[in-house]
């Protein structure tokens, strides 16, 4: 088994044991969706206008929870050093952690998305496949940039609280693109979707590559 897969399997094994990450992600996302529903109920706005925003707020903040937990497991007992001693490059280590984080976020989203559809009484038709594609891409981007940022933020005195401070400004273009394209698909107003998708794809590629290259500096002693 290759080292990268070994790390992913290890993360799965740990998560299966405690299920902390998945539980907290799903719970948090559900709470956000519920709160948003209350907040905009009385305004009489078309649900499709507000819903995408609530989805991506839920996803991005739940992601921060997951990223923090994931890194906390590696700093416990200095396990990260154990990984740095292993015969795999820093870039491969980065890819392994991104894969684990991405996987867990996707699993949480399997629960969150249907709830999103139900809460907002959306039409679940073939167009929704496009929404799923956007969620997939957006989640990958968040996992990509979040993995290196959580490594950086864990070095600070503020620890977990630092991650949202670093991540939210940087992922803003990603969130805007995701919300807008989701909204356009739901409202069947798909004029700009391709531009948004370019931004989404561009962001993902740029940041996965950049983080892959910079990861060794982030874990340096």
């Amino acid at each position: 088994m290759k080292p990268v897969s070994a790390i992913i399997f290890k993360d799965i094994a740990i998560e299966l044991r405690s299920k902390e990450s998945l539980a907290s992600m799903i719970m948090f996302a559900v709470l956000v969706l519920v709160v948003f529903n209350f907040a905009f109920e009385s305004t009489g706005l078309d649900k499709s206008l507000v819903a995408p925003g609530s989805l991506w707020v839920a996803v991005s903040f739940a992601a921060i929870l997951a990223l923090n937990r994931s890194f906390a497991k590696e700093t416990d007992n200095d396990c990260l050093q154990g990984l740095l001693l292993a015969p795999l490059s820093r870039g491969e280590l980065y890819l392994a952690k991104v894969s684990s984080n991405f996987l867990f976020m996707l699993i949480a989203e399997i629960i969150i998305l249907p709830l999103f559809v139900v809460f907002n009484a959306l039409n679940f038709d073939f167009r929704f496949a496009e929404v799923i594609a956007i969620v997939f891409l957006g989640t990958l981007a968040i996992a990509g940039i979040g993995t290196i940022l959580s490594t950086i933020s864990s070095n600070t005195r503020m620890k977990e609280v630092m991650l949202p401070v670093l991540q939210i400004p940087l992922t803003l273009p990603l969130i805007i693109a995701a919300v807008e394209s989701t909204r356009e698909i739901l409202m069947d107003d798909t004029g700009q979707v391709s531009s948004w998708l370019y931004i989404l794809a561009g962001f993902t590629i740029v940041y996965l590559t950049l983080s892959y290259l910079l990861f060794e500096f982030a874990v340096e002693d």
């Binding site: 080292p3 094994a13 740990i14 044991r17 007992n77 292993a86």
Partner: protein, 238 residues
């Protein structure tokens, strides 16, 4: 053609900002040697070990483990290295078998299950093999940590203050494992504050002070003990 050296460092320097941790360490360790590395706190012995283990990047100099340059081929070099510090790098949520299985896969250890079984027997953890590491005492932690270090059969074993916080049983177990490793031809480099512990099985004594090697002699040479005592005395009066 000279035999491959276990460790060869040439003028290894490391600065952290303005602070010079290592000011040029050139050390040659042959296979099978057992080196006791002494030095005051902050002298640079931990830093040197970490550079050799590829955990810290040297600012200058070359270092090769079993003939592999650690800067050019770090992943290849790491296969030969087993590193243990006072942190055990074990996952608290998993049990010993799962932990070892993970590290075994990481290093591509052949006949993994058999090897895990064998090691757990050796360190006396067979009965606790299904308990999550979270519940373990410090001593049991260390034993599993030792199993982890030996798992991939490294030819160069680096230990940073391994005796810290160990009870008598654990000390005996560690010494037993080290003696077996030495007998099997492995190279051991360990750092410790306890001169007697360090010198017990050592073939060579090295003292590092303020980032440089100040003494390098065969262990059984009485000069080594005298030099060490003098070194400590000087340190206390500073």
């Amino acid at each position: 053609m000279t035999a491959t050296l276990a460790l060869q460092s040439q003028d290894i320097r490391k600065t952290f900002g303005h602070f010079t941790a290592l000011g040029g360490v050139s050390l040659t360790v042959e296979r099978g040697e057992f080196v006791a590395l002494f030095g005051r706190n902050g002298a640079g012995k931990t830093t040197f070990l970490k550079v050799a283990a590829t955990l810290v990047r040297a600012t200058h100099g070359k270092l090769a483990i079993e003939g592999v340059d650690i800067h050019e081929e770090p992943e290849k070099a790491r296969r030969h290295i087993g590193f243990l510090s006072h942190n055990t790098y074990l996952y608290r949520d998993l049990n010993p078998v799962e932990n070892l299985r993970f590290f075994g896969r990481l290093y591509g250890v052949p006949d993994l299950e058999g090897r895990i079984h064998q090691l757990l027997e050796r360190v006396g953890l067979q009965r606790r093999k299904s308990d999550p590491v979270r519940a373990f005492s410090r001593g049991l932690h260390q034993r599993l940590g030792l199993a982890r270090v030996m798992l991939h059969n490294p030819s160069v074993i680096l230990l940073d203050e391994p005796y810290t916080g160990l009870d008598a049983n654990a000390v005996d177990m560690l010494n037993g494992l080290l003696d077996e490793a030495a007998a099997a031809g492995k190279t051991v480099i360990l750092t410790t504050h306890d001169f007697d512990q360090g010198i017990r099985a050592a073939t060579r004594t090295v003292i590092i002070d303020r980032g440089k090697v100040v003494l390098d002699s065969p262990a059984k040479d009485s000069a080594a003990r005298d030099a060490y005592t003098e070194y400590i005395r000087l340190g206390l009066s500073r």
